[in-house]
Symmetry: C2
Subunit: 667 residues, 2 copies
């Protein structure tokens, strides 16, 4: 169980669907984000990210200015953000923005790295090099690099692990620096990240005098394992293992750091997955992004160390999420309170959180589990999240984003009902807390590394997309029509007889109905939902078609919110109704489950896309006498009007203006 | 339009249903509440109410101790409550509890007064006299009486009208003092209330140097009108009129008192109904209890002054509540955020607030509108709220209470989902913020004054209960089987020929189907849903039976949450399903709308009560193949199991242990 993450440079993507998304990231999102980081987008909230690095760099040069007395920045009403009194002229030596603002640069440089790895771009690289220079100038001589404390006072550094994000910033810096190093071979940022990691290693751990804490927002764990795998330095692995092993051990570190207020109704440790040791955790709880980032690190550790108890915990947490707490869109986090998991089967559609970043984190976790064992239960979920709850996060034109991905929206409700204010009826320009857009950018830019993993002689194809990958003596060329149809063609080329095994995922959504033709006879075997093929010699062409019939799907009956309602899916794509196509009051619409669903190719979303048409009816209520108030009427059987329900892929909703939307349809 | 509130001593109630409730209040609630006020109930949170009056009284005696430098009491996590460090030994000279803690005494003495008026009780009266002595000793020589500031420092008195509750405490003190005076003829507390009102009158108003503010929590308005009607002193009417007229005038007083934080997403003034002048208010908004208390004061003013614009505003606000924002139970306040009204037709059943006190306030508003014009739209709602959303607030044994009255409860959800933590699956012992239990006590103890009003020669019977009332030369004896059946008998007696008119409400729930027999011919006319009868001479017996057939009722189709669901009602009683009778997963239950609903007399709730049995079925989901996760299945038509649905009156839910409950049933 030691599957390998593939080198991004080894996967060349040429796919109508995915290349378009990658180009959108490269041409629109990355340049826009750079402007954001430099506070040059008038209509967006200033980021202050590069401002902070420059301010820290200046302080760093004038070392006598680096005071130690911590100055609390002014927090404003806008969610714990330090903002200047006069936004038009922020002070040069002040920190602004969220405590984790540095990470915005790291996410950007990570996406830039992936993009450069597959699309060299001298201009972008020059901008990135300049940015790296600014960032590196902010680093303290001891390796510490978090501008919040460099600017405000180092004496409080690492004193609030629970709520401040120094180790989170370290994690993102590592991820970004490795990406940029792998793309360009330039190691300036990687060295900076290593120095910061070395400093953290010198400060945290079991040894006497070290801090026995761990990250309040996980990510450093998986980042440090990646740093270990990149540099071969054992100390990074050990540091990551320390963070994972120590988490949730009694006495609870966060409780010591922040004694619980008397009468507080719940233990904040759940929010941080720090309530019990990780190996004892069986239910996914707390802040959903934090959770899946932690579980990803745990999966890395389980793979690298062979720790069976840790793997068991990963399995249970995977099941907890995907069998009890995941929306059909691959969204996770059913409550906005704490942006968190709710209890099992509590999956409200119109008040959910389902943060784009959380689904991205679920993909991270899935890929790591696939490296441990190739089972389609991971890759199916990965694909489901990608085509639905993740890509819903970005508009077709790449300039606006959803943080929260509801499955049902009535615009009046989300505007007027404070309980739904976290839900937006249209994508927003950018966020003060800008995690989702850059997270989307780094995922899409590196999608090739999720499509494949390798282990020994085997190449696993987890996702299908037009792409080329070589493994040992064999080259594979993939052509794919997913998500429009289930057609996939693989052309394998090897000079002689090859030992390479190709493992193709049979997506569970095809119900194991697929046709396969190979140009030569191959030895085949199905295990864990993968079709293992070997015996490649010369050129071999494999044609597969996975059945992609539209299906009516219902949630488990334990999901109260979905009773009497169904969703329509086709392959990995979940569909929804929009007001634009179906009129207002979508809750009055019911589907006729006996009539087959028609497919319609539409180009209204740019690329050809399959829309669906289902037969159904609209209930029309018929007035009778009032009961006490005209608000209540004595019942009379509703009339119905036959209609065609038009459905579009969920990821594309809210690209045609504001209106009602619903994934679920009345039965 | 000047209907009179009847003197509580003139209505003698002898009714199986209501007398039992009144006895419960007299024997259980009032003594229990007195123990609570004195912190002698070990299992309940201490009130500190009488403690505070004693502490203030001591300070008052030792005037040199009355410092002026305000000491902020320690607020704890438990909802802005000042609590002692050591709960077992609170300090003698400290204020504890909520800023409005004094009002708990006033609500108690008000209920005591009503109870004494109809059930003389020397022992209770002696306890009350003692309590009044303690309270009066706390009053400052200038008339001020709010222990929070007397103890903590008078220099901040009336400096936070928006959030602190001095004028609210004044209002309750007035109401309590009048009740006690009317019951016993003792005016010590009434004089204290007048002195406090006089002091407030000297401090607030349009005149130069006076504070131009108004209550943050309304009630003083209606209380001052009542004080005017009790004492005949014009200045109390003027002060109330000032509070109503000034409310919401620009510049907004609360905004000046509390400048709005930058970027705050909504104007807090809505919460306080202080966003625009009251005559311009057309939609019921903000904190529901505050709202209906204000509207009650507005209705008093409209009646006393004949102000047409004010009456128009009252009409619009009445319609806004009852046609767009009222649950079928008479509950109001659809969101716990701000315990407030939500937008029109937003009436979620499982996350509502529907505070007991808010429905009680709706009854206050209704009675006042009935004094302006006798229209059954007010009395129907009054009765609906009483038999459902108000009486649901108290357990059958009188020892536990609901603050929040949900229409649907799944115990697991309200315990595990933080968004529903305001909802309790069983009634609670007592609350730190104890508004609902004493509010229930004062309403039930004075129910006779809601059953009747008079205007000129006319006696209006708005509610039916076994009772006697005299008007001029005529005595009316009512016998009533409501809510068990629609049978009402009235025996009128007069010595000769009488000019008195009896106006009997024809409840709208009977669909105007009723049978009436009179022992002599009377002159009759129907107006506004009332049957006006005159021509009484000697003894006249009137037998009426209002149709009380169980009805299936649906909400207006604009109520998203109730689509595809119905409620069952019988007369003014709304029914619900409980898990105890119908098993778990009530959302799977559907009613057969074509079969008639059977009635069942049960004694399991003490008095004979009508339970209902409806034919229906339970949907049983049938498993098919998984879609990606076992959480999602390809659809297969559900099977059904025929069942009898047992329904009990909503007010009686949660008297037989914890379990699921739902008013709405699947269609």
């Amino acid at each position: 169980m030691n599957g390998q993450h593939v080198d991004i440079k080894k996967v060349r993507i040429d796919d109508e669907f995915w290349s378009t998304k990658q180009e959108l990231i490269r041409r629109k999102v990355l340049p826009y984000q750079w402007e954001i980081l430099n506070d040059r987008v008038p209509e967006a909230a200033p980021s202050y990210c590069m401002h902070n690095f420059k301010a820290a760099g200046r302080l760093n040069k004038n070392r006598e200015l680096l005071g130690n007395a911590f100055r609390e920045p002014v927090y404003t009403f806008r969610g714990f953000e330090a903002l200047p009194e006069d936004p038009s002229s922020p002070k040069e030596d002040e920190f602004y923005g969220f405590v984790f603002q540095d990470s915005d640069f790291s996410k950007w440089i990570e996406a830039v790295g992936y993009s450069l790895a597959t699309h060299p771009d001298k201009e972008l690289e020059a901008v990135a090099d300049g940015a790296i220079d600014i960032v590196c100038e902010a680093q303290l001589p001891n390796g510490y690099l978090d501008t919040y404390y460099i600017i405000n006072g180092m004496d409080r550094s690492f004193k609030d692990l629970r709520d401040h994000h120094e180790l989170y910033c370290l994690g993102h810096l590592i991820e970004g620096s490795i990406s940029y190093y792998e793309a360009t071979g330039k190691d300036k940022l990687l060295k900076a990240a290593c120095r910061f990691a070395d400093y953290v290693d010198s400060v945290f751990g079991y040894e006497e005098g070290k801090i026995k804490g761990y990250p309040g927002h996980e990510i450093a764990e998986m980042a440090l394992f990646r740093l270990y795998e990149t540099t071969g330095e054992e100390r990074y692995k050990k540091l990551a293992e320390y963070f994972i092993d120590e988490r949730g051990q009694a006495p609870l570190y966060f409780d010591m750091e922040h004694p619980t207020p008397k009468g507080q109704p719940y233990k904040i440790d759940y929010y941080h997955q720090a309530h019990i040791p990780v190996r004892e955790q069986t239910e996914a709880v707390g802040h959903a992004v934090r959770a899946v980032y932690l579980y990803s690190g745990m999966a890395d550790m389980a793979r690298l160390s062979g720790d069976k108890r840790l793997l068991e915990a990963c399995d249970k947490l995977w099941d907890s999420i995907t069998k009890e707490k995941m929306y059909i869109t691959g969204g996770i986090g059913a409550t906005h309170l704490g942006e968190a998991f709710s209890f099992p089967y509590d999956l409200p559609n119109d008040t959910d959180y389902a943060e784009t970043c959380a689904s991205i984190g679920l993909v991270f976790f899935a890929r790591r589990m696939l490296q441990i064992r190739a089972d389609r239960k991971y890759s199916d979920v990965m694909e489901l999240a990608l085509f639905n709850g993740i890509l819903s996060g970005i508009s077709l034109d790449g300039t606006s984003f959803f943080y929260v991905n509801p499955l049902e929206v009535i615009p009046e409700a989300v505007k007027k009902d404070e309980r739904k204010w976290h839900i937006k009826p249209v994508r927003q320009k950018w966020f003060g807390c800008a995690c989702c857009p850059p997270n989307l950018a780094r995922l899409v830019a590196s999608i090739g590394t999720y499509a494949y993993t390798t282990e020994g002689d085997t190449v696993y194809a987890h996702l299908y997309m037009g792409s080329e990958i070589s493994h040992k003596d064999t080259e594979f060329k993939f052509e794919s029509d997913i998500p429009n149809s289930g057609k996939v063609k693989v052309t394998a080329n090897t000079s002689g007889r090859s030992d390479v095994v190709l493992a193709l995922r049979i997506p569970s959504w095809c119900g194991d109905k697929y046709e396969i033709k190979t140009s030569r006879e191959l030895i085949s075997e199905v295990r864990g939902g993968y079709l293992y093929l070997k015996g490649f010699e010369g050129e071999t062409v494999i044609d597969i078609e996975f059945s992609m019939k539209p299906l009516i799907v219902v949630a488990d009956n334990k999901v109260t919110e979905d009773k009497g309602r169904c969703a329509v899916v086709r392959g990995p794509v979940v569909y929804c109704m929009e007001e634009k196509d179906n009129g207002k009051s979508l809750r009055d619409i019911h589907i006729d489950t006996d009539t087959s669903i028609e497919e319609e190719i539409t180009t209204e979303f740019g690329l050809p896309t399959v829309a669906l048409k289902a037969s159904g009816y609209r209930k029309i209520s018929v007035s009778e006498g009032d009961y006490i108030s005209p608000l209540y009427k004595t019942y009379k059987k509703e009339e119905t009007e036959d209609i065609k329900i038009r459905l579009i892929p969920y990821r594309l909703w809210a690209n045609r203006g504001e209106g009602e939307m619903s994934v679920y349809i009345g039965l």
